[in-house]
């Protein structure tokens, strides 16, 4: 690795190499826990930067909504209630105030829904051509209600996903390539379903929102961290027909496409139905998709409907469309 490539931002193997390689100089127990948010006593703390091209996906979803959902969901994933948010903007010279206003209104709306206050911020402007319209960095703080840590993943747990997968990544591709398809990003704050799971004492062991690298990245990270194999039943994973069609067209795996309002959970087997009932109140496509096996080989095994098995690999490289 001599230079940074686009693949280093993809949430897959290259990014892991970056984190396990040069970023390891920051080595400490809190960072090494590799949860979606750092756990500092009863405080959850998370930061994220957002780049999106195009910055408006539709009337409702834009980089503003995305930056709030991304950070708040990270806080929720460690079993905390999000409370405060910081916002830092890097704006490109010439960026329209009207667009900025629309983005800020989306931010305000999502923060209001989540009961989160924007408490500090920063704005920088770079010369025309030195940025991509707008970059946003957010940092979120929350209060731990029932701590969830990925280090507690063990054999026998059920694996659930809170909805159908791949819609955010697919909606960006559709918009970017000016295609027409009925695909709407899943971008949303997950506060209601997560807090309901926590308040009902459902035995959730770990949670992670399946953003860059998608479902495949989350499962592979968990398999690596726990050392356990994961057995996933392909037919239990729900993918919208249009998303599947787009994947067929471009040669992508829906499992690797980003989600922005879908999370993966490891739950004690005895509570899997209870968890599913709650999740389905918010998304009918939530499902129990597999289990954590005893075998310690860190593999994600995907079993298809007719019983054949293959590995679900860690996403690699930059997504490029196939040739034919």
């Amino acid at each position: 690795m001599k230079n940074i490539s686009l693949a280093h931002g993809g949430g897959g193997e290259e990014m892991n190499e970056l984190l396990d390689g040069i970023f390891k100089i920051f080595n400490n127990d809190i960072l090494n826990a590799a949860n979606d948010a750092a756990i500092l006593g009863n405080i959850a703390f998370s930061t994220d930067s957002f780049v999106l091209n195009p910055i408006f996906l539709d009337d409702e979803i834009n980089i503003g909504k995305l930056c709030v959902c991304g950070s708040i969901n990270d806080i929720l994933m460690v079993g905390a209630k999000p409370k405060y948010l910081s916002l830092a903007f890097i704006l490109e010279e010439g960026f329209k105030i009207k667009k900025l206003n629309k983005i800020l209104q989306s931010i305000q709306k999502e923060c209001f829904k989540a009961g989160v206050l924007v408490v500090c911020g920063d704005t920088k402007v770079v010369p025309k051509g030195k940025g991509d319209e707008i970059y946003i960095n957010t940092t979120a703080l929350g209060e731990i209600i029932a701590k969830k840590e990925t280090k507690n993943i063990k054999a026998g747990l059920s694996v659930l996903v809170s909805g159908d997968i791949g819609r955010h990544g697919a909606s960006v591709l559709i918009k970017r390539n000016q295609l027409e398809a009925d695909i709407k990003s899943d971008c949303k704050i997950l506060n209601k379903e997560v807090l309901e799971l926590l308040e009902n004492n459902v035995k959730v062991i770990a949670m992670r929102d399946a953003t860059r690298g998608g479902l495949s990245a989350v499962l592979n990270e968990w398999a690596k961290q726990s050392g356990n194999d994961f057995l996933i039943f392909e037919e239990k994973i729900i993918i919208q027909d249009e998303v599947l069609g787009l994947c067929e067209l471009f040669g992508y795996e829906a499992y690797e496409l980003a989600n922005e309002g879908t999370f993966v959970l490891c739950v004690e087997k005895e509570d899997e139905q209870k968890a599913l009932e709650i999740l389905r109140k918010y998304n009918k496509n939530a499902n129990i998709i597999g289990e954590v096996l005893k075998e310690k080989a860190s593999r994600v095994i995907l079993q298809n409907s007719f019983g054949a098995k293959r590995f679900l690999e860690v996403p690699k490289g930059e997504l490029l469309p196939r040739i034919c």
Binding site: E13, S305, F306, A308, I323
Partner: protein, 363 residues
């Protein structure tokens, strides 16, 4: 039920599996010409449910895999030139040239773009009137009509800053070349259906007859492939060698005549060097003489000196069906999708990439 579900249906797959098991009498080596089939076969783990008598052999049908290093080096040279915007399709960007890949060059600041459709070039050219837009065209019969259509539009719109480097190749020529190799032991072929959508399924008739091999023009879904295998098994039992059109939902006898005419208007056959197979007579296409003004190979200095391929890499043997990816010493060790030595590991259609991705260890 939709068009995808129907062709991934569990009951249909299991019923076809039973029939194949019941009817198979002799071992059959089936070459899947197209890398897309290799990926489907591995993705759905079909070898794990089929009888051991069915042996899949990967063929030369991946346009990236068969592109010789010299042409990658030419692409890199064109992309390096000042004032050029280099455009191509998909994962050609990852293939290593003699020193580096197009993706490495892009990281150094070259304007290199991966297209979803060649027609995107029209917009790029309009937005960049002071730049030369180079379209490095690649692919089999499936993608050639799109290149021809782009050229037609370029002429219609009188755009002067778009140039074509043509690397289009044809399917029947390398198949003939493989079958003429006496070491090759192939009993049947899976023919790529998307190619036949353009060409019609009859293009394979001479190969099936000359080499006495059944050919099933097959779709890419598991039900399609299983049905094609059943047909091959039946033909093998009967001793027939016909071209079976499994993909009736889109493939006709004569294909898409309009697309064929468009291709013939702008391109003519030429000899083409296939990686691992050598120069194949009439294996590729080039721009017709009268369109020389649009020909990047004539308008730019495309002379390059390429280094030899890595000796450890056996992509050539794999493409001829004489070895499996596992037989290669560097497979999944020095050669991985992230650090490919050979293009079979690079391309999303490549055999090594398929074997690496889906089955590098037995589950």
């Amino acid at each position: 039920m939709n068009l995808i579900d129907e062709f991934r249906d569990k009951q249909s797959i299991l019923a076809l599996k039973k029939l194949i098991e019941k009817e198979i009498k002799n071992p059959i080596n089936i070459m899947e010409i197209c890398g897309g089939h290799t990926h489907s076969i591995m993705k759905y783990a079909l070898p794990s449910i089929l009888p051991k008598e069915i042996n899949f052999i990967h063929g030369p049908g991946c346009p990236v895999c068969v592109m010789p290093r010299n042409r990658i080096d030419i692409a890199i040279k064109l992309a390096s030139m000042k004032d050029n915007i280099f455009c191509t399709l998909g994962d050609l960007l990852r293939v290593p040239g003699s020193d580096f890949s197009l993706i490495d060059l892009r990281a150094k600041g070259a304007d290199i773009r991966a297209l979803y459709s060649p027609l995107e070039i029209l917009e790029i050219a309009k937005e960049n009137p002071n730049k030369n837009i180079i379209f490095f065209a690649i692919g089999f019969e499936t993608t050639t009509p799109m290149s021809a259509l782009l050229l037609e539009k370029v002429i219609e719109l009188n755009l002067k800053n778009i140039f074509f480097h043509i690397n289009h190749i044809t399917v029947p020529a390398p198949i003939e070349a493989i079958m003429d190799d006496e070491n090759v032991q192939i009993n049947a072929f899976l023919g790529p259906s998307h190619v036949s959508v353009i060409t019609g399924f009859e293009i394979y008739k001479p190969i099936a007859a000359k080499h006495k091999t059944p050919i099933a023009v097959s779709g890419f879904e598991p039900v399609d492939i299983m049905e094609s295998i059943l047909n091959i098994v039946r033909q093998s039992n009967k001793g027939t060698f016909e071209v079976y059109n499994q993909y009736k939902r889109a493939v006709s006898k004569k294909g898409n005549i309009k697309a064929q005419n468009l291709v013939a208007k702008y391109f003519e056959p030429c000899d083409f060097e296939f990686r691992g197979l050598g120069v194949i007579k009439n294996g590729g296409l080039k721009l017709r003489e009268e369109f020389g003004d649009f020909d990047a190979s004539k308008q730019f200095d495309c002379m390059v000196l390429s280094k030899n391929e890595n000796k450890a890499c056996i992509c050539g043997k794999i493409l001829r069906g004489l070895a499996k990816p596992y037989d290669c010493k560097v497979f999944a060790k020095a050669c991985t999708p992230r650090n490919p030595i050979g293009s079979c590991m690079v391309s999303s259609e490549g055999a090594c990439a398929a074997y690496y991705r889906y089955s590098k260890v037995n589950v």
